[in-house]
Amino acid sequence: MDGAHDMGGMHGFGPVAVPGGELPYHERWEPRIFALHLLTGFEGLGAGPGGRQTREEMDPAGYLAASYYERWTWSAEQRLLRKGTIAPGEVEAMMARLAAGEAAPEHEDPAMSRRVVERLQRRAPMDPPPADARFAAGDRVRVRRMRPQGHTRCPRYVRGATGTVERVHGADRLPDLTTYGEPARPEPVYSVAFASPDLWGPSDEPPFTVLLDLWDSYLEPT
């Protein structure tokens, strides 16, 4: 999905260093919706594409207008609606109750607390790199041109560009397929280095290197 979230290289967003930028969030509801989003995943309360993939489905104007945690709120709600955990209109009804001054309900479940922290700590590394990976360190590769309708991890700014494999990270299933529950076999994921002129042409800055982690399916030999 080539949406507003695919931002590498875009202009017009202004400076990076702005007042307040150092903090991870500014209001108490922000870490709470983050936590709630994780919990809905862990507890199986949502359905369909994950939070990240769901946020990419926001319409572009809405995506750019929303704050970071507004996007998380949106994706949490969409996933809950898809599963049927909540029904259309229920959020608005609860908003009205809270706006009218009703106290937020509370519910304690220490077992769930232990479960979620355990889940945050669990380790789950990628498979090791396959012995028969198509490319090896030092190989020149070209990123395929593509316009995937759905989720992808191949940003627009590297498509068609030529780079050099630095290493094989490991094996992983293609998110372009797994996001939608489609079958996918583990395939090599490479670290590919691009010289900046091969991405952006001439620039005011001295040349630099951009490295991306790219699935085998995104690449072709030069």
Partner: protein
């Protein structure tokens, strides 16, 4: 502490919607208030840049640990008790006099939670995601970091499940410092690559 108490100003639409989602699920017993508190507290109290800083300081003091951190980062971080979600596949990239590393996620906001906690707002901003892969020196300059023209800036866009941590160079004049004192010099931004210690 649950949301919804002690608001000093009227809640925004965004806040109200987020609180309503929590209230709906809590009311039905599908998620618990304390579980939400536990996640928030976990990333505010237990996990943050202090973790990454400890690994960096250890690497500065212990060549063997440095070797393990670069070769088998997952295991080396686990030695210190660090690991988990968004850190399953760590890669540690070392700055040298010739190389300066910076991390980003242009498509999303991927970040090594177990060693750095939750990312600062600027890391998630459109401006950072758009610019650092295309004009890294201009971005670093905004952070007050000016690199020599012959340094190879390497920008790591976390496009897959690998998460990156920058191992900065040990600053001169720190020969006498112990691990804890060294760790105090290592800020979060040093491990993202927008600062140096």
């Amino acid at each position: 502490m649950s949301a919804g108490h002690h608001h000093e100003r009227p809640a925004s639409e965004a806040e109200l919607r987020a609180r309503a989602l929590e209230a709906l699920l809590v009311e039905r017993g599908l998620v618990s208030t304390d579980a939400i508190d536990a996640v928030v507290s976990y990333y505010e109290q237990d996990v943050g840049p202090q973790n990454g800083a400890r690994a960096v300081a250890r690497a500065w003091l212990d060549e063997a640990y440095r070797g393990r951190l670069l070769e088998r980062p997952g295991d080396a971080l686990a030695e210190l008790g660090f690991g988990g979600m968004e850190g399953h596949n760590m890669t540690v990239v070392a700055n040298t006099p010739a190389v300066h590393n910076v991390i980003v996620c242009t498509l999303c906001s991927c970040y090594p939670w177990p060693v750095l906690g939750l990312p600062p707002s600027w890391y998630k901003s459109e401006a950072y995601r758009a610019r650092v892969v295309a004009e890294p020196r201009a971005v670093l300059r905004e952070f007050g970091l000016e690199l020599a023209a012959d340094v190879d800036v390497r920008v790591w866009d976390s496009s897959a499940e690998v998460r990156y941590l920058v191992l900065p160079m040990r600053p001169p004049g720190t020969g006498e410092l112990a691990e804890e004192q060294l760790a105090a010099r290592v800020t979060r931004d040093c491990m993202i690559g927008t600062a140096v210690p």
